[in-house]
């Protein structure tokens, strides 16, 4: 593997605009013996996106992330970060991203400030700028009072923040986080989610998780990986929207009694908690909105919404992955 420094490469790379593609994974494949951990995984991530990597244990999420970061060589395919190939120009590519591994490994004997100095220096931040960068990131992550503490004495929440600080200290264009809220208390989870949203204004964030609430709360896009294959790629709305062919008719109040309106082709309604009733449309083609609206009005109710039925994210996930359970 060539690791030659190619300063020209970075200089020639086009400046990132808000919708610039910053991660390009193309047909990434990796096997461990007979086990195919990732097969032809391809996707792109633009600046400003928060991409959630979802999948059951052993699906290939970490393998794919590790290939993108250059920590694992791909058998086939390529990964580019800001247009720089991770396999052929790893040093230049590594300057562009920050990475937080799942286990948050810190050097226990080091003080937080020394750890951040080490990471910052190794990332090439000039000494004069480094102290300002540490102050800035410590303020942002609430680490100011912890800078003189040894890493080994920190609580799980602060360890996570130090891990995030080392990933962000050089203002990367891509942030790769492996299970960033694992083990945090609810308040810390909310803080980390808020931070990730903030980050996405300047860079692309890609993170893996098992927690569907996390995905629903912050992701602008979701990739589902199962048995090494990328099986879904889209926004949460797109994934839920594509999930069913069934039409739903939402009416006000207790809805319509189908037995009294046989021409309506509506199944008996299910009352929702907001004083609405959801009916399934039994017709073969899409309902005619004019007729539907008039007949529902005549039956004493009002038409509120007509659309494809939507599954919850958990239902989508279970359908895509063949029913494997996740933490919701």
């Amino acid at each position: 593997m060539s690791e030659e420094s190619s300063g020209a490469l970075a200089n020639n790379a086009p400046p990132a605009s808000p919708r610039t593609t910053v991660i390009e994974a193309s047909q990434l494949s990796r096997s461990f013996g007979e086990t195919k951990a990732a097969q032809d995984v391809s996707f792109e991530v633009c600046r400003g996106e928060i991409l959630g990597f979802l999948g059951p244990n052993g699906a290939g999420k970490s393998t794919t992330l590790r290939m993108i970061t250059g920590l694992l060589a791909a058998d086939r395919g390529s990964a580019k970060i800001c247009g720089i190939d991770v396999a052929t120009h790893p040093i230049e590519a590594k300057k562009k991203f920050g990475y937080l591994p799942e286990s948050i490994p810190l050097y226990e004997e080091m003080e937080v400030i020394d750890y951040l100095r080490f990471i910052g220096s190794a990332r090439g931040i000039a000494k004069a700028v480094l102290e300002k960068s540490i102050d800035r990131i410590a303020m942002r992550l609430g680490l100011v009072s912890m800078l003189r503490r040894r890493c080994g004495t920190l609580s799980k929440g602060f360890r996570q923040r130090v891990g995030l600080a080392q990933a962000l200290i050089h203002d990367p264009e891509v942030v790769i986080l492996d299970e960033p809220t694992n083990g945090l208390d609810p308040r810390q989870i909310i803080e980390v989610r808020s931070l990730i949203r903030e980050l996405a204004t300047d860079c692309a964030v890609i993170f893996s998780t098992h927690i569907l609430q996390e995905i629903a709360a912050i992701c602008t896009r979701i990739i589902v990986i199962h048995s090494g294959h990328l099986i879904a790629d889209g926004t949460p709305d797109e994934l839920a929207g594509d999930s069913s062919e069934d039409w739903q008719v939402v009416t006000s109040g207790s809805g319509v009694d189908p037995e009294q309106c046989p021409g309506l082709q509506l199944a008996p309604g299910v009352e929702g908690s907001t004083g609405e009733t959801v009916h399934r449309w039994l017709g073969e083609s899409a309902p005619d909105l004019g007729d539907l609206s008039i007949q529902i009005y005549r039956s004493g109710s009002r038409l509120l919404h007509v659309g494809r039925s939507r599954e919850t994210l958990e239902q989508v996930y279970l359908r895509l992955t063949g029913g494997e359970r996740v933490q919701a």
Partner: protein
């Protein structure tokens, strides 16, 4: 070069901010002093030299060098901090050299701490002592130590268990010092002269003995330096292999 110094400084901090380095230095000097002053004919023959001290050096290095280096990679592999380390824009070769350099600093600190011994001998000696063999002995100690530390680095990258790294490192050291010794070479020279020459040239003792006598032959210096480079190259290969 800057990356190497950054990594070396961090590793030095890990050695000297914890008791590891100090324990290593104290134990090495204590054990060497014990054998030198109490179990050698130092006081009997009233000889103002340090040949026994340096004669023991390969044997102490083969144990203490793996003890110093066992944490260098094994600890990183165990905690998973290699994930962060290898995601930094630093070449693997610079990481390896930086870590090894820190262990060499521990060795140099040990050498400096032991300088009180020749100073005392010089002070007590009735006539001026011969500094040539002593200086040669210290140069040999540093050169041989660098090779043993490089060997320890490589062994440390093989396993995430520090005890395994220590045991494999000591075993490899025993091979270099005892199995490939001049005594063993003379034992087999009757049956296979060529093999005996190879064994002697690969062993540490034959090269260390001439330096210890105050003879700094280029071939001996090349042996220790190339040995260091060989084991460091193996370490780089082993760390790169983690990506495969």
């Amino acid at each position: 070069m800057k990356d190497i110094l950054i990594v070396a400084r961090r590793e030095c901090g890990a050695y000297f901010q914890t008791p590891i380095a100090w324990i290593f230095i104290a134990l090495q000097i204590a054990i060497l002093s014990f054998f030198f002053f109490l179990y050698s004919p130092f006081f009997i023959i009233e000889s103002a030299d340090m040949r026994v001290w340096f004669g023991l050096m390969p044997f102490t290095l083969m144990v203490f060098a793996p003890a110093v280096t066992m944490r260098l990679w094994s600890e990183e592999l165990r905690t998973g901090s290699t994930e962060v380390l290898l995601s930094l824009p630093v070449k693997v070769v610079n990481l390896v050299i930086g870590k090894w350099l820190a262990s060499v600093v521990v060795l140099l600190a040990s050498v400096i701490c032991s300088l009180g011994i020749p100073a005392t001998i010089s002070y007590l000696a009735a006539s001026p002592i011969d500094w040539g063999p002593i200086i040669g002995g210290y140069i040999g100690t540093v050169l041989a130590g660098m090779m043993f530390l490089a060997l320890g680095c490589w062994v440390s990258a093989l396993s995430r268990n520090q005890v395994v790294s220590l045991l494999v490192g000591v075993t490899a050291g025993i091979v270099l010092v005892l199995a490939l010794s001049p005594d063993f070479a003379s034992f087999i020279s009757g049956t296979n002269e060529t093999l005996a020459r190879i064994v002697e040239s690969l062993g540490v003792q034959s090269h260390f003995r001439s330096i210890e006598r105050g003879v700094l032959a280029i071939s001996d210096v090349v042996y220790f330096l190339s040995g260091s480079c060989f084991f460091l190259a193996l370490t780089v290969f082993q760390v790169e292999l983690k990506k495969q």
